[in-house]
């Protein structure tokens, strides 16, 4: 193995940065959802990489849990986005303005 732990951490931080950029700049609900998924996957990469270099496997187990939970979350999120699309014919959250004050 030539990869060091630092390589994984750098990729993970890059993914985190892309995710945070996506959620703060984009206003399309699906893009925002995918930006959040990138942060989750950055964390999963961290967990698996640390688990590889640490003497226990808790991190890798946790990554499995986290992937399953993220899938459930995306299912609910896409359902909400579809309902919104049927109502507004649009998934741009800046257009949803019935609530303000």
């Amino acid at each position: 193995m030539t990869n060091t732990m630092l390589d994984f951490v750098i990729v993970s931080i890059a993914l985190l940065a892309i995710g945070i950029y996506g959620i703060s700049v984009k206003r399309n609900a699906i893009r925002m959802l995918f930006a959040v998924e990138m942060i989750v996957n950055a964390a999963n990469l961290n967990l698996v990489a640390f688990g590889r270099f640490l003497p226990n496997s808790q991190g890798q187990t946790f990554a499995l849990f986290s992937i399953a939970i993220a899938a459930a979350e995306v299912a609910v999120g896409l359902a909400l986005i579809i309902v919104a699309y049927r109502m507004y014919k649009n998934v741009d959250i800046a257009e949803f303005r019935s609530l303000k004050g």
């Binding site: 964390a43 609910v76 609530l99």
Partner: protein
């Protein structure tokens, strides 16, 4: 290993079984619109659970609160207190839905999701392992995203749900990133081992540990409604069905505090207090922004949403002074219990007003005190308790919180927290008083409206709870004293 007969497992068994069976029953019965039937089943399951926890508390079987445990779940007074608070909220929500959900689509799914979310909230308080905490956190959150958007035909409900979902998903992503850093630093996910690991950390790794605690504050802070992370909260509380808002404001928010007490406080102690000043600043900002924004609102749900942000600030005072005095956490726990009942009752009263009159604009509440006497009385008592007026429970918990900040005097800024808290309470009385004035002193005498029976029940319970504890707070104060986690004495900084 966890024993199969321990409290959390039994709660999962009762609530989970009923929660999963409800939708199946609706398919088998092929009968539409029998809302009260499903509500009664869910209500029974919740009463059985709270009875079980309350029996353990009253009979003194619960050990005093321990912070750490080698297990995944710890059954102690700390989690017992939170379990009782969350189950009360779930019961209030279910009872309020008896009338609110009549004639709405899919009642079995609605009650099933409430029960599943309740399991999540309760387990957050019981968990002492970061993996368990995260799974419970998601079990609590995912059903509430659906519930917030349950009125499918209503655009504002959908908008509320979508905003809530995006911020909620972001907060869980941030929490799991924080957990991954902590796991990398300490090689364990057990909270106790993590804190020992953090306390003995190599100084060169300290920035990463601070980053992880910061991520925990941000992640849990989204659900708690702390100020830089509060922008979704007023929209969601206004748009979601009022019964679900009661569940969100009184339940999931308190679960955030349960997690914060288990994780953040121990983190700040392990990290030599670098974050306590930040918590103090966030507390003052949160209460000020919440209360000032609440004054300007025209919609009662939105006003109570901002007031709920303000109350997150009060509870955070206790967390900020926690490393210096045990009174801080005691005050926080007491206020958590009170706030669950008062916010829950206030939103259920709004649900009652919405089902009968259908308005939430404060200007149109004129003469409500004569139209709906019992609902109005319940709303007034909860508002007075929220403001902290003496013969109610809210007074004692605020006294304990602000008193704890004054008593330590060790960080020089602690006294300012108490001053900010008292000023904010005075400010909040202005807008609570405005609602009360509209309801009782304006508008012509009008005919009485028939009030929904289940909502009358909730109101009577909350009036008894709030005034009863306000008059005789000793047993609850004693209980919260036992529920304060025992910290390692070496870590508490004495005067």
């Amino acid at each position: 290993m966890i024993e199969i007969t321990s409290t959390p497992i039994i709660l999962i068994a009762i609530l989970g079984t009923v929660g999963m069976i409800l939708p199946v029953m609706s398919v088998v019965r092929k009968e539409k619109g029998s809302n009260s039937f499903y509500a009664a089943i869910a209500f029974g399951a919740l009463i059985a659970s709270i009875g079980y926890v309350a029996y353990e508390v009253v009979s003194g079987q619960l050990p005093p609160a321990a912070v750490f445990s080698a297990d995944v779940l710890a059954n102690d007074s700390f989690s017992g207190l939170f379990a009782i608070a969350m189950l009360i909220v779930a019961i209030i929500t279910t009872a309020g839905s008896f009338n609110f959900m009549r004639g709405q689509a899919h009642p079995p799914v609605y009650y099933s999701l409430i029960l599943l979310s309740t399991i999540g909230m309760v387990l957050v308080a019981y968990s002492t392992d970061l993996v368990m905490l995260f799974v419970a956190w998601e079990l609590m959150s995912i059903p509430t995203y659906v519930l917030a958007g349950f009125m499918k035909k209503n655009p504002s409900s959908n908008e509320a749900a979508l905003k809530y979902f995006l911020f909620g998903a972001l907060s869980s992503a941030i929490i799991i990133y924080g957990i991954s850093i902590v796991y990398g630093l300490t090689g364990s996910t057990n909270i106790g081992e993590v804190m020992t690991g953090l306390a003995n950390l190599d100084p060169s790794m300290m920035p990463l540990a601070l980053l992880a605690v910061g991520m925990f504050i941000a992640g849990f802070g989204f659900k708690m409604g702390l100020v830089p992370f509060h922008m979704w909260l007023p929209d969601t509380y206004e748009g979601a069905p009022p019964t679900i808002t009661a569940l969100l404001a009184a339940g999931t928010k308190k679960a955030g505090f349960a997690a914060a007490l288990r994780v953040i406080i121990m983190g700040t102690i392990a990290l030599q207090l670098d974050w306590t000043f930040a918590l103090g600043v966030i507390a003052v900002m949160t209460m000020t922004v919440g209360n000032i924004a609440a004054i300007m609102q025209k919609n009662i749900s939105r006003m109570l949403a901002y007031s709920s942000i303000g109350h997150a600030g009060y509870i955070l005072i206790g967390l900020a002074v926690a490393p210096f005095t045990s009174l801080g956490i005691q005050g926080s726990l007491f206020h958590v219990l009170n706030h669950s009942v008062m916010k829950g009752a206030a939103f259920i009263a709004i649900a009652g007003i919405v089902t009968t009159i259908g308005i939430t604009n404060i200007d149109k509440l004129k003469g409500l005190g004569r139209k709906m006497p019992i609902t109005s009385l319940g709303l007034v008592i909860s508002l007075l308790a929220l403001a902290g007026v003496p013969p109610t429970a809210g007074f004692w918990s605020k006294l304990l919180l602000f008193g704890s900040a004054l008593e330590t005097g060790l960080p020089a800024w602690a006294g300012w927290l108490a001053i900010a808290g008292v000023l904010n309470s005075a400010l909040s009385l202005a807008y609570y008083g405005w609602i009360i004035r509209k309801m009782y002193f304006e508008g012509e005498t009008e005919k009485k409206i028939k009030e929904p029976k289940a909502i009358i029940g909730v109101m009577i319970f909350s009036i008894i709870f709030l005034v009863g504890i306000g008059v005789y707070p000793d047993p609850i104060i004693e209980f919260t004293k036992n529920a304060v986690p025992i910290l390692d004495n070496a870590l508490i900084i004495s005067k």
